[in-house]
Amino acid sequence: MVIAVQSSVNFKMSDAKYFQRGKIHELRTELNSEKKDKQHTKKKTVLKKIVANMTMGNDMSALFPDVINCMQIPVLEIKKMVYLYFINYSRTKPDIAVMAIPTFMKDADDHNPLIRALAIRTMGYINVDKIIDALVDPLRRCLRDKDPYVRKTSAMAVAKLYMHDHELVECEGFVDLLRDMLADPNPTVVANAVAALTEISERSNTITLKLNTTVANKLAAALNECTEWGQTYILEALMSYIPQDMGDAEVLAERIAPRLQHANSSVVLTAAKVIMYLMNYMTKEEDITNLCRKLSPPLVTLLSNGHEVQYVALRNILLIIQRRPEVLRNDIKVFFCKYNDPIYVKLAKLEIMFRLASVSNVDQVLSELKEYATEVDVDFVRKSVRSIGRLAVKIESTADRCIAALLELIQTKVNYVVQEAIVVIKDIFRKYPNQYESIIGTLCENLDNLDEPEAKAAMIWIIGQYADRIENSDVLLDDFLFTFLEEPVEVQLSLLTATVKLFIKRPTAGQELIPKVLKWATEDVDNPDLRDRGYIYWRLLSTDPATAKTVVLSDKPRISTESDNMEPALLDELLLHISSLSSIYHKSPQTFIPNSKIRHLTHSPVLNRRYPGQQQQQPNLLDSDIENLASGSLGIEANPYNLDVVNIGENYVGDLLLDL
C-alpha cells in the first residue's frame, strides 16, 4: 500500500506586506540610502515595494533614474525586478532608458547563457527606438549562439522586434535567419522559430509562411521531441502547408494522428484542425472515413477536462460535426447535460444534442430535453423548450411526442416556458398543417400572460391562421388590438396580417376591426414596413377581394431545420480556425479582429472540390421570404421569422461584442 505524502510548504517569505501604497519620495530616499547594505537586502526590499506598487497600478515611473542605478548590482533577483520595471515604464522615459544600453550589451555577451537570454528577452520587450537599434547586433549573434536556450529566446525576440519595427526586421535579414532555424537540431528552437514565423506571417502584408512537403514532414517528425506548447506551434504552422500531390495529405495526417492522444487539449484540438484541413486534399473516401473514426474518441475525451476547455471543445465539435456528420454520430450520450455543468457548457451541449438527434436516439433526446425544461436557469430552460419544438420539425416521427411534451410544459404555467412553447408550436403548425390544431384551445387559455413580442406575434399568427376555427378569434384579436399602438413592430405586423386574414375568412367578424387597424398602420405609425404593408392590404382589399384572398391565404413554403445549418462558406472558414476564439463565437475573425488575415482553402491539384462553400449554398430563410413577398404571399413570413432559431446559443457572447 502506498501512503500519500503531501509535502507541506512553509512560507519563508511573507512579502504580502509590501502591498500598500508607497510614496514616491520615500521610496526614492530609501533606494538612494547610503547606509551599509552589503547583501543588498535593503535595495531588494525597496524594489519589492516598487514592484508591488506597480502591480497595484500606482504610477512609479518617476523613480526611473533611481531604479536604473540598481542595474549594476550583481544580484539576479534585483536584476530581474529592475528589468520588469523597465518593461513597464521605458516607453514613458525613452531618453533615460537609453542609459541601460551598456548593461544590456554586457549581459548579452555574458558567459552565462541564462543571462544572455534574459538580456535579449528583456530588450525585445522595450519599444524604444535606440534600444531596438542596439538590439540588432547582439540579436544576430545570439540567433547563432551555441546554447539552444539562447537561440530559442532570440527566435522569439525577432517576432517582438517585428511588432515594433517590421522594416528593420526585413532589412536586417532576420526573417531568413528564422527560416534557417527550422533546421536547428534542437526541437525547442525549431518550435519557437516556427511560432515567430507564424506570428510574422499573420501580421505582414508581404511575408506569408508557406511550407513545402519536405519541410512539413520534417516539422511533423520534430513533433515527437517538442514540448506540448512547441507541438501546438508546429501544428499551427502546418496549416500553411498546401498538399500538391496525391498522397501528401494522407501521409502527413498519418504522422499527426498520434497527437490526438496527447494530454494537452491544445495539442489535440490543433491536431484535429490540421487533420480536418488535410481531409480537403484527400481523394479516397476510405482514408477520410478512417480519420473521422480516429477523431471521435479524443474529442469526447476533451470533455473530461476543466469546464473552460470543455466549452472550447464543445463549440468546435459543433463545427466539426456539421462538416463530417460521421464524427461522434453514436456518441450523443456524452453530451447530455449534468445538473451542475456551468451554463455555458450546458448551452453548448444542447446545440450538439439537437444536431446529433436522429430517428434512432430521439426518444432519449426528448426525455433529456423534458428534464432540462424543468431546471432553474431561465435561458437554459427556454432553449430546451425551443429545442423540443425544433426536434418536432426536424424528425417527423417524433412530432406527436414533442407536441405532447410541449403541452405538458404549458400546463406548468411557468410564464417563460409557456411563451417559448407557443413560439415553437407556431413552427410546428407551419411544418405540419392541419394536424395539431386540436391543441389551439389549450394555447388560448394562456393569452393573458404573454408579454414577450415573439410569443405574442406567434400567438397572433396562430389566431390569424386559424381565424375560422377559433370561435372567438375576433374577440381575441380585438383584445390584442387594444394596445396596438404601443406594441413593438414585430407584433404590430403580425396583428395587421392576422386581422386581414380574419376579415377574409370571416368577413362579418372582421369588418369592424379591419378599418381601424388599416388606419393605424397607415396613419399613426412611423415604421415604413408597417405602413407599406398596410397600404398594400388596403389596396388589395379595396380593388379585388378575390385576389386578396389568394394572395393572403396562399400556401406557405415548407420550413425545415435545414435553415439551422451554417452557411457553408463560413463553416469552411471556421474549420480553418478550430480551437481559436473565432471557432467559439462562430464568427469570422475579421468581424472582431481588425486586420486579421483571411484564411481560405488554397487551390491545389488535389483540392477536393466536393465541399467548396459557394456551390451548394442553401437558400436561407431571408431570401425565400423575399421571394415570398415578390410572389405576393403576405403572411407573417415577411418577418425573417426563423432567424432567432438559427441564432440559438450564440447571442450571449454576441451581446458582449461592443467596442471599447
Binding site: P187, T188, F336, S579, V653
Partner: protein, 428 residues
C-alpha cells in the same frame, strides 16, 4: 497570443500584472474587474470586448486571467492557465491570494520564464525548480555553477527530467484513480455511465529509466497471441480513448499500443483514459419520493453497495435535494448520519464506512411551508460522493511496469486502485 496576464483576488484587486505586448495597457485590468468580477451573471469563461478578449479561470479565491488581442488558440490559453495553477501549487503548496502575495516576486520571475511574448515556453516544474527557487540565493548559485546544464534541460527532448537523479532505493508507485460518472433516469434506466480514469505515477528512479507499462487493454491483448486466452476470458477492458503525459512516445503507442516513456522525477499524471463498456456501478440507489399534497414530501431512499464484501467504501455522502420551501425535516437512518442543510436545500447523509453488498435505507419526510405562488419543484438529482479502495469500475488492471536503466538496478513497484464518484447522479 497572450498579450497580458493578470491574477486578481476575489475583490478584483490586481495581485499580478504582466504585459507581454504593447497592444494593451495596464488599464485593461480595470475593464476586466468591471465587466466580469463585479458582474454577478457571467455566462462565459471568455469575454470579448471590441477586439480584446479576456480568458478567465477561477481557482481558490483567485481569478487567473489571460488577455489577447488576436484570434488566439483558446484551448492553449486555458491549458496555460491550468498549468500556471499547477506550477503555483508545486511551488507554494497551494495557490491562493496569500501565496501569490507572499511570493509575488517569484511569480513574476516564473511568468517571465514560462511565457515569452505571450507564447508558453517550458513549464515543467521539475526544470523550473532548477533555476527559479523560493530562495534567491539558491537560484543564484545554480546559475553560476552549471547553467548550460539547465539550458539543455529546459530545451531538450526530455525537458521534464534532470539527468543526474539518484535514489538509494528505486521505487515507483502507481495509482489508478477512476471517476465514475452516472446519470440514472427516474425510471431507473442508466442514461449514461462512464469511467474517466487517471493513472498517477510517483517515480523515484535513478538515472534515465526507460519504462514500459502494460494494462489489460483489450486491443493490446488481442494483438498479443500469447495472451489470447486472457482476452477471451473477458478480463480485458475496452478502452475508448486515452491520453498521455508528454513523456510517452505517442508514435509507438499509435503503431503497436505499447506505452513506453522516460518518466519525470516524482509525481505526474501518466495517462488518462475513458471507458463506457461494462462499467460496474459501485452503488445502486432506489429513491421513492412522493409529494403529498402541497405540504409534505415523503422520502424512502435505499442504497446498495454493489462490490465485493471484502471491500469497503469511504466517505460516502448522499445528497438528497429538498424543495426550496422546506420548513422542517424528519429523517431516520439505520447507519450513518443524516441531516438537513437548509443552505444547500438538501439532506446530507454521511456514511463514513460502507461495506460491500451492504444495503442501507433512509426514510423520512419534509414539511413544506405554504407558498403564495405555486411553482413546481425542479427536483434536482440525488448525487453521491464516495471512494472505494482497490476497486475499479472499469475492471482495469495494471499488468506490468518494467524499468530499464543502463546501470541495471532493480526497482520496486507498487500499485493501488481507487474508484471515486465523478458526477454520480440519480434523478427521481
Amino acid at each position: 497570443m497572450i498579450s497580458a496576464f493578470f491574477i486578481y483576488n476575489q475583490k478584483g484587486e490586481v495581485l499580478i500584472s504582466r504585459l507581454y505586448r504593447q497592444d494593451l495597457k495596464r488599464s485593461v485590468a480595470d475593464i476586466f474587474r468591471i465587466q466580469v468580477i463585479s458582474n454577478t451573471d457571467i455566462r462565459s469563461p471568455i469575454v470579448t470586448l471590441g477586439s480584446t478578449s479576456f480568458f478567465h479561470v477561477r481557482h481558490e479565491n483567485l481569478f487567473i486571467v489571460a488577455v489577447t488581442k488576436c484570434n488566439a488558440n483558446a484551448a492553449l490559453v486555458f491549458e496555460f492557465c491550468y498549468r500556471l495553477v499547477n506550477i503555483g501549487k508545486a511551488y507554494f503548496g497551494k495557490l491562493d491570494e496569500e501565496a501569490v502575495k507572499n511570493n509575488f516576486v517569484l511569480v513574476y520571475e516564473l511568468l517571465d520564464e514560462v511565457l515569452d511574448f505571450g507564447y508558453p515556453q517550458n513549464s515543467e516544474t521539475d526544470t523550473l525548480k532548477l533555476y527559479i527557487t523560493t530562495e534567491g540565493v539558491k537560484s543564484e548559485r545554480a546559475l553560476k555553477e552549471d547553467s548550460s546544464k539547465i539550458t539543455i534541460q529546459a530545451t531538450g527532448a526530455t525537458s521534464w527530467r534532470r539527468p543526474d537523479i539518484k535514489y538509494r532505493k528505486n521505487e515507483a508507485f502507481i495509482d489508478v484513480i477512476e471517476s465514475i460518472n452516472l446519470l440514472m433516469s427516474a425510471k431507473g434506466n442508466t442514461l449514461r455511465a462512464d469511467v474517466s480514469g487517471q493513472i498517477m505515477m510517483r517515480a523515484y528512479l535513478s538515472g534515465t529509466p526507460e519504462c514500459k507499462f502494460g494494462l489489460n487493454d483489450k486491443l493490446l491483448l488481442e494483438k498479443d497471441t500469447s495472451h489470447k486466452g486472457m482476452a477471451r476470458k473477458s478480463t480485458a477492458v475496452e478502452i475508448d480513448d486515452c491520453q498521455f503525459h508528454q513523456c510517452v512516445k505517442l508514435g509507438k503507442f499509435d503503431s503497436d499500443r505499447t506505452i513506453s516513456f522516460v518518466p519525470p522525477d516524482g509525481e505526474f499524471e501518466l495517462m488518462r483514459y475513458r471507458t463506457t463498456e461494462n462499467v460496474i456501478l459501485p452503488f445502486r440507489v432506489h429513491p421513492v419520493v412522493n409529494e403529498i399534497g402541497k405540504s409534505r414530501v415523503e422520502y424512502r431512499v435505499t442504497v446498495k453497495a454493489n462490490f465485493s464484501p471484502k471491500l469497503y467504501a469511504n466517505n460516502v455522502l448522499i445528497k438528497i435535494p429538498t424543495p426550496l420551501n422546506t420548513a422542517n425535516i424528519n429523517v431516520r437512518v439505520a447507519s450513518g448520519k443524516a441531516k438537513y442543510v437548509p443552505a444547500e436545500n438538501a439532506i446530507l447523509w454521511k456514511i463514513p464506512r460502507f461495506q460491500g453488498q451492504y444495503e442501507v435505507m433512509l426514510s423520512g419526510d419534509a414539511e413544506l411551508s405554504a407558498m403564495t405562488v405555486k411553482k413546481a419543484w425542479s427536483r434536482p438529482p440525488i448525487s453521491m460522493d464516495f471512494q472505494v479502495l482497490m476497486f475499479t469500475s472499469s475492471g482495469l488492471l495494471v499488468r506490468f511496469l518494467k524499468v530499464f536503466e543502463k546501470s541495471n538496478y532493480t526497482s520496486v513497484k507498487w500499485v493501488r486502485y481507487m474508484t471515486k464518484a465523478g458526477s454520480y447522479q440519480i434523478r427521481f
